[in-house]
């Protein structure tokens, strides 16, 4: 199972189908993370997610497995098999 830790304040860049994706956390509170996916510089979706919620990024489904809002903060995503 692949895991992806998104950290607050860090941009994550991906290439998918010839497009440039940038994924970042917009906000993080106890139990909720707001994530935006930008495609070629244009927001394609902003998602408010809690633990157990899923989000599709670059044709893969990810489930939020942990949210840590304290301090610098992060959210852990797990890719569906």
């Amino acid at each position: 199972m692949e895991e992806w830790r998104l950290r607050r304040g860090i941009p994550y860049r991906l290439e998918h189908d010839g497009a440039s994706l940038l994924v970042g956390i917009n906000d993080l509170t106890a139990g909720q993370v707001v994530v935006t996916v930008n495609v070629d510089g244009v927001p394609s979706g902003t998602y408010e997610l809690g633990v157990g919620d899923t989000v599709d990024i670059a044709d893969r489904s990810y489930t939020v497995t942990a949210i840590e809002a304290a301090g610098r903060g992060y959210a852990d995503l797990e890719a569906g098999s």
Binding site: I10, S20, L22, N26, E68
Partner: protein, 492 residues
């Protein structure tokens, strides 16, 4: 002193021609001596009516002038040329425009003085177990540092090729340890931060290619570590294409500059230093030449970046040309980006110089990992030191001047921006009630920079760089959703 147009191939060709001419000088001397002898014989003992002392140098025996002396002088000169060409020839090819050649490298005519080098080697070995006295080791270390700096580049290379790792590491430990001794709180140890930085920069700028690795391995402070950064400690993020487990130092596969300083292209990497990148981008946008003038590639391949320290003292921080790369070989931290493709490395060198010099880390924002001091410990001289800090901390290191806080007011910000001041601003820690149009672009607990103004609104850029949308806010939204704007001053 500025040098332009070094053509090493042509200079080497000149050396070959000199060597060839030197090879013919002995024969020419013999021919001229014979001609002179024949002419004197033809006089049948009659005294010449004129005397030319220069002709005496052409008689047989030990050469005393031209052309005989050229048989040794020209090959010697050719050897000097080749030696210097070896030092200024980058392994990766031609130097880009703006490369700086230390005159010392070009004008150190003499061969290395072995005796002088041996004395420095002995002095460095002698540090082992030495009693430095009640006043600490600073005076001894300063004396040795000066002797190292007095070596010519050729002597420094000889020294580095001979010094043991054990001796060099001991020296590195001693100059880095500025703490008090156990029994004496009034002693002075190590070299103070700025002085040590200047010393290390001096050694890096003068040492030959291939010897940096020894300096980086043995002397703390030459290479900023990244093993205390969150991204490294988190481990692999395979889905993002950035495998932090593979973070390593390497030479970037992109040039320092392609099209000059373009602020829009500067992209924060996987390091939590938006507070620094925002200042760098804002300054680059306001005065690209100021940023371009603050970085140079040296003839030996090292890179120097202009940074001011916490006391406002200017340093040219010299560093090895390698940067932290991800497992795929791409620059992991700051760089220029077009689309998702890394195009230039210069932001990475600015960031590296800042990591080496930043001295005000207090551990950054707490990360909820109490008891795990790998995360938010107070650091110095590492990338971990520049993760998470306050927006007013970075500007003095970028511009040389403290930033000035200004009112959270559209007119004040516009007036500052229009008069040439870069402006940075923090976002709030919560987005409760955020208008829909800002939901994709607004990032909490972040630092943005002012890019311009549009129809009575402020355009704020994200240090994440290309791919991240600008936040375009009304004056009221600016007041509500942002905090602590800082006006930077460039070039005063």
């Amino acid at each position: 002193m500025t040098y332009a147009g070094f053509d090493v191939d042509k200079i080497r060709l000149l050396a070959r021609e000199l060597r060839k001419a030197g090879g013919g000088a002995g024969g020419l001397q013999r021919d001229l001596a014979k001609l002179l002898g024949d002419a004197e014989s033809a006089l049948n003992g009659v005294r010449p009516t004129s005397y030319q002392p220069l002709l005496d140098t052409m008689r047989g025996g030990e050469p005393k002038g031209v052309p005989g002396l050229l048989a040794t002088a020209l090959p010697d000169t050719a050897g000097e040329i080749d030696r210097r060409c070896d030092r200024i020839s980058p392994a990766s090819g031609a130097f880009p425009p703006g490369t700086v050649v230390d005159p010392m490298i070009v004008f150190d005519r003499d061969e290395p003085d072995q005796g002088k080098v041996n004395q420095v080697l002995d002095a460095m070995k002698g540090l082992g177990g030495k009693d430095f006295g009640m006043n600490g080791d600073r005076d001894d270390l300063r004396a040795l540092a000066k002797r190292l700096e007095d070596l010519t580049p050729a002597e420094l290379d000889l020294f580095l090729s001979k010094v043991s790792d054990e001796d060099l590491k001991r020296y590195g430990r001693l100059i880095s340890d500025t703490g008090d001794g156990w029994l004496n709180p009034f002693d002075h140890n190590g070299l103070p931060d700025g002085e040590r930085r200047e010393h290390l920069s001096h050694l890096l700028e003068r040492s030959g290619p291939g010897l940096w690795a020894k300096l980086a391995a043995d002397l703390p402070g030459v290479q900023p570590g990244f093993d205390s950064t969150d991204v490294f400690l988190d481990g692999a993020n395979s889905q993002s294409g950035v495998s932090t487990a593979g973070l390593h130092y390497g030479t970037p596969n992109v040039p320092m500059f392609v099209d000059g300083v373009q602020a829009d292209e500067v992209a924060q990497g996987t390091l939590g230093d938006c507070w620094y990148i925002a200042s760098l981008k804002a300054t680059a946008a306001a005065d690209p030449k100021f940023i371009q003038d603050g970085i140079r590639q040296n003839a030996n391949g090292t890179v120097s970046v202009r940074v001011w320290d916490k006391d406002g003292k200017l340093h040219w921080v010299t560093m090895t040309p390698d940067l932290p790369l991800d497992a795929g070989g791409d620059i992991a931290f700051a760089r220029s980006v077009s689309g998702n493709t890394t195009t230039e490395s210069w932001p990475g060198y600015y960031e590296k110089a800042f990591a080496l010099l930043y001295a005000e880390d207090k551990g950054g924002a707490p990360d909820g990992k109490d008891g795990d001091d790998r995360y938010d410990r107070e650091e110095h001289g590492s990338y971990g030191a520049i993760e998470w800090d306050y927006n007013e901390q970075a500007p003095p290191y970028v511009t040389g001047d403290d930033a000035d806080g200004i009112d959270l007011d559209y007119d004040d910000v516009k007036k500052s921006f229009d008069s040439g001041h870069p402006v940075i601003v923090s976002s709030r820690s919560s987005n409760d009630g955020l208008p829909d149009h800002l939901k994709a672009s607004y990032v909490t607990r972040h630092v943005f920079y002012v890019k311009g103004f549009q129809d009575g609104k402020i355009v704020l850029g994200n240090p994440w760089g290309p791919g991240s949308p600008d936040a375009v806010v009304t004056p009221d939204e600016f007041k509500k959703w942002f905090d602590d704007p800082q006006k930077l001053t460039v070039g005063d």
